[in-house]
């Protein structure tokens, strides 16, 4: 008895914080999204907020915008990251420096990455200045508005800058630990280098590529600072929208906020589930 209960007791402090804050916060948000917010006199459970939010044009545009940003930035990061990792593995010379340099963006915070993008791509940024100095443009407004644009180009770029090295790091580790001799076998059986890449290396790294895709997808879908700083006013990214609703002085807006948050949470949980499934796939042939 003592033995079975001991690990739970020892886990208790950590679990209190983890479950306490997480579960309590989540249940409160859920209750409020259902219209239960006694502080301001809302006592009745209702699905009206969901109905309203899920049919609201503004919300749907924001959702689409967030999904677009997350999907495009994660996909581009995956492609670039895999190519980067593959070229580092393939490069013949010593790998001291390049192994460190490509990882640097991973440790830079997103806010700093945003500032970098702002300083480089803004209409008063470095590229714009260079274009002006070289005589390509004669005034600031002639430089294309890459930031704050409704396709989220600046946001995507910031996420790609952060995501690519992360993917590369994961894939590089997998690739360099992978049995190089499997490539030799494939070549020996008549595969070209390109075929080795597509038929051996990619399938074998696929589970890790996919799970790291999910990680950066979930992050860029739910994170708020980048679209807040360099995103357009319309459409707003979903997390920014949630933040704006939350900051609304009128507390009656709160259930809407929480509904948006629940949607964000639901999609994140979906990501976790997919992540979990890909690990099962990985174990299918490695177990």
């Amino acid at each position: 008895m003592k033995k079975t209960i001991k690990p739970y007791i020892m886990l208790l402090p950590a679990m209190t914080i983890l479950l306490g804050i997480f579960v309590a916060g989540l249940s409160m948000a859920f209750l409020q999204s259902l219209g239960y917010f006694p502080t301001i006199g809302l006592q009745e459970f209702t699905l009206n907020y969901y109905k309203e939010v899920l049919t609201d044009h503004g919300f749907l545009t924001s959702l689409r915008f967030s999904l677009w940003i997350a999907f495009v930035s994660s996909s581009v990061s995956v492609v670039l990251g895999v190519l980067l990792a593959y070229s580092i593995v393939k490069s013949k010379h010593k790998k001291g420096l390049e192994e460190i340099v490509y990882k640097l963006p991973v440790i830079v915070p997103h806010v700093v990455a945003t500032l970098l993008v702002y300083n480089i791509l803004g209409q008063s940024g470095i590229i714009a200045r260079m274009a002006y100095a070289l005589g390509f443009i004669s005034q600031q407004s002639e430089f294309p508005a890459l930031l704050f644009d409704k396709n989220g180009f600046g946001i995507i770029l910031a996420y790609v800058w952060k995501g690519t090295p992360f993917i590369a790091m994961v894939v590089y580790t997998v690739l360099s630990n992978m049995n190089n001799r499997l490539s030799e076998v494939a070549l020996n059986l008549g595969a070209t280098n390109k075929q080795v890449f597509w038929h051996v290396l990619i399938p074998l790294t696929m589970p890790s590529i996919f799970s790291s895709f999910i990680i950066i997808f979930a992050f860029s879908f739910g994170a708020y600072e980048v679209p807040f700083l360099i995103g357009p006013t319309a459409p707003r990214a979903l997390p920014v929208q949630a933040y704006a609703e939350y900051m609304n002085a009128d507390l009656r807006h709160r259930p809407y906020t929480m509904t948006i948050n629940m949607v964000l949470t639901f999609i994140s949980f979906l990501c976790i589930w997919i992540y979990h499934k890909t690990f099962k796939l990985l174990n299918k042939y490695n177990g």
Partner: protein, 341 residues
Amino acid sequence: MPQIQLKKIHKSFQDKRILNDMNLSIEEGEMISLLGPSGCGKTTTLKIIAGLVEPDQGDILINNQSVLNIPVEKRGAVIVFQDYLLFPHLTVEGNIEFGLKMAKVDKKIRKEKVKEMLSLMELDGQQYKYPNELSGGQRQRVALARALAVEPKVLLLDEPFSNLDLRLRETMREFVCSVQRKLKITTILVTHDKDEALMTSDKIAIMLEGEIKQYGTPLELYKKPISEEVANFFGETNYIIGKVEDGIFKSPLGNFRTTLQNTVKLKAMIRPEEIEVVSVYQETNTKGIITRSRYAGDRMYYMISLKGMEIKSISIAKEIFDVGEEVSLRIDSKNMVFYEV
């Protein structure tokens, strides 16, 4: 005309010489062994033939044409590796058809080939399994099927049986030999196991320190090793110093008829199984005292002290002699091999 020829191959890795002036020719349909201790360059030789490693010097001819400039994927020399290296993400079927798929062979033909290979390798019904669901022997057969499916000009087997347990090893050895005979595919087997080489090969190349020391039929290598190092590699030996006078080899073990010219000093190699230990009452010219005896079921391993020499013998365990017992030795001199001293 030999199908495969290695001419003066040299290879070093980081100043360490692996292959030194290696020459070898293999006839079409032959099964030969590269036999040698680990680290003697056997696997490197296979990789050079396959095109996975480039030689520093020398040439490789397949069907009388140099293949040095033909990349690995077009060379048609396929290796079956010691640890099989099946693709873990592909099923048995996917593994077997891999080479054909890479060559963009029509799906229907691929399926036919897979079916043919599955039945040849006695793997029917296993095609949808992943490698981690197979036993060692099955993985081995899948690896072999995968290599044979591309119909290579040469099949290269890199210690293919060493990961299997003893009984399975024998079964697989027989199996591979029968497949080889059936398909008549030129095969090079790399092994450090001399029994394996002796039992499976048409010819054996003894490799020591990156060189081929002798190349010939199993019988030649065992009975007529050209040097002491080759003789030693094939197991226990006795060396006796003597001299030849008028067609007689005179030695402490006795006098034996020979066709050799007169010499002052000569060393004769004689295998332990050519020396039979018999009862002292049987009249022979050589007598000694047993100093060690080991019982091995059907055989007896003896060490006999004789005129200050230690002589090894392997005899049939019909009559058993004890340590300290005086015995007679019956020596069969026709398989003696002589070396200059």
